[in-house]
Point group: C2
Chain length 261, copies 2
């Protein structure tokens, strides 16, 4: 049996510690190819590059792994990998990360890490985004390595439902070992923004966005709960945003007479 082909990307950029750890784990499981941004792309959400040019350069940065860096977003990187770099081959797995920082709950919407994984799912490929709930650039990843490997292996062997990307988050390093895995729903939480005002040397105002994370969710079946209780959280994510229940509700509640031609 030939070794599986594994595409690796991320949003912290090709030189980050998280992607180095991810590449080293994936090398145990198959043939690895990397297409990742040439600079940090945190908070890029599902941005793509339209009306601007894209660069793509081969970069000899990982031992025995073909790697490319791109000027594009994480989603661009997966598109470039699928439709240019790997034009005649199909990856068996797309992995993104390991992100330096949490992508639980609503952060999935803003996450470049997850946009690469969701882009993989759009292409019909089994895809996983990995994030460590520790924002430090020097974060300790040693406690998550076995879990990343187990989960990737599971997906290679047992698959995931078509069109689904897994949002995997790990608790930060703690005294006690990680307790296990919870398959979760996305917690209902949000960022409550505050804007810090500053003035530049010309006296013109500018802002820094800052925010407090507010968790409204009292359940124990969501990713915030899992991380707070030292479990790995896995949320299966879909790219169909339709709120199907709302179709029924709107067709029932709206005044359709007034909405005719």
């Amino acid at each position: 049996m030939s070794r599986p082909l594994i595409l690796v990307s991320n949003d912290d950029g090709i030189t980050s510690k998280g992607i180095r750890v991810l590449v080293s784990i994936m090398k145990r499981l198959g043939e690895v190819i990397v297409v990742a941004p040439d600079s940090p792309q945190s908070g890029m959400g599902h941005a793509i590059t339209i009306g601007e040019t894209l660069r793509l350069y081969e970069e000899d940065i990982f031992e025995e792994v073909v790697a490319y860096k791109s000027s594009g977003t994480p989603a661009d990187c997966v598109k470039l990998a699928k439709h240019y770099v790997l034009k005649d081959r199909t990856p068996d797995l797309v992995v993104s990360g390991i992100n330096h920082g949490s992508n639980t709950s609503i952060s999935v919407l803003y996450s470049g890490t997850m946009s690469a994984a969701i882009e993989g799912a759009l292409e019909g490929l089994p895809s996983i985004g990995f994030s460590l709930c520790d924002y430090s650039s020097k974060a300790d990843f040693s406690h998550v390595e076995e879990w990343v490997e187990k989960i990737a292996k599971q997906v290679l062997e047992n698959g995931i439902p078509k069109g689904i990307a897994l949002n995997v988050n790990f608790p930060p390093m703690q005294k006690e070992a990680i307790r296990g895995i919870k398959v979760c729903r996305q917690a209902d939480a949000k960022w409550q923004e505050e804007f810090a005002e500053r003035f530049d040397p010309n006296g013109r105002k500018y802002f820094w966005m800052a925010g407090n994370f507010v968790n409204f969710d009292k359940g124990e079946d969501n990713d915030e709960w899992a991380i707070a209780n030292n479990y790995v959280s896995i949320v299966p994510c879909q790219y169909d945003l339709t709120a199907h229940h709302a179709i029924t509700q709107m067709n029932k509640d709206w005044d359709w007479e007034s909405l005719k031609r």
Copy 2:
């Protein structure tokens, strides 16, 4: 009864024709405030500005309307509006657009227009993104004005389910009048990318992303069908990406013995 407060944003930038049309319609329905990007932000998805500064300037561009332009993304604009510009007031409605170009089907993921609307929904505000399926900067919006007004009025009067943002798309101007409104699901379609290679004057390669839209969806209950048949499509969108059915499936199908500590 006081007039409703309506926040307007977009992704084509504050000087685009689409937002001018939207502002003029909203002025009939309430007090309008604009916070929009200072330059085009198409394809920005749900990007936000992290680790960079933001600018925000008042701009006297719409008659009798307080307007601000920002260096940020569409999602940033809604955050700035909610948590800075309108700190002590709550908008009754958030509208984004009218986008120059389609945001049907999978384009909702890449859409800056919809990210502003979804950001509004995240804040618990009734929110609508409007798009015209015509990419021209001089697109004719005259056939959609009555529909934009009717839909906005409907939302102000009858509301939408909490946490939902409406993705409204209009067919381009045609000989026959628009036939009516369909509340739809997001069509299962995707962009099939191609990368056009070019060389700069220094002989270094670069790329333009191009793509063909491929529609796999044979149903008549989706937004692609509605637009192709000259209907207004409305897809209610949610920000919970959890594929709830997949939780059951994974808990059943995966080899959990091997995933224990």
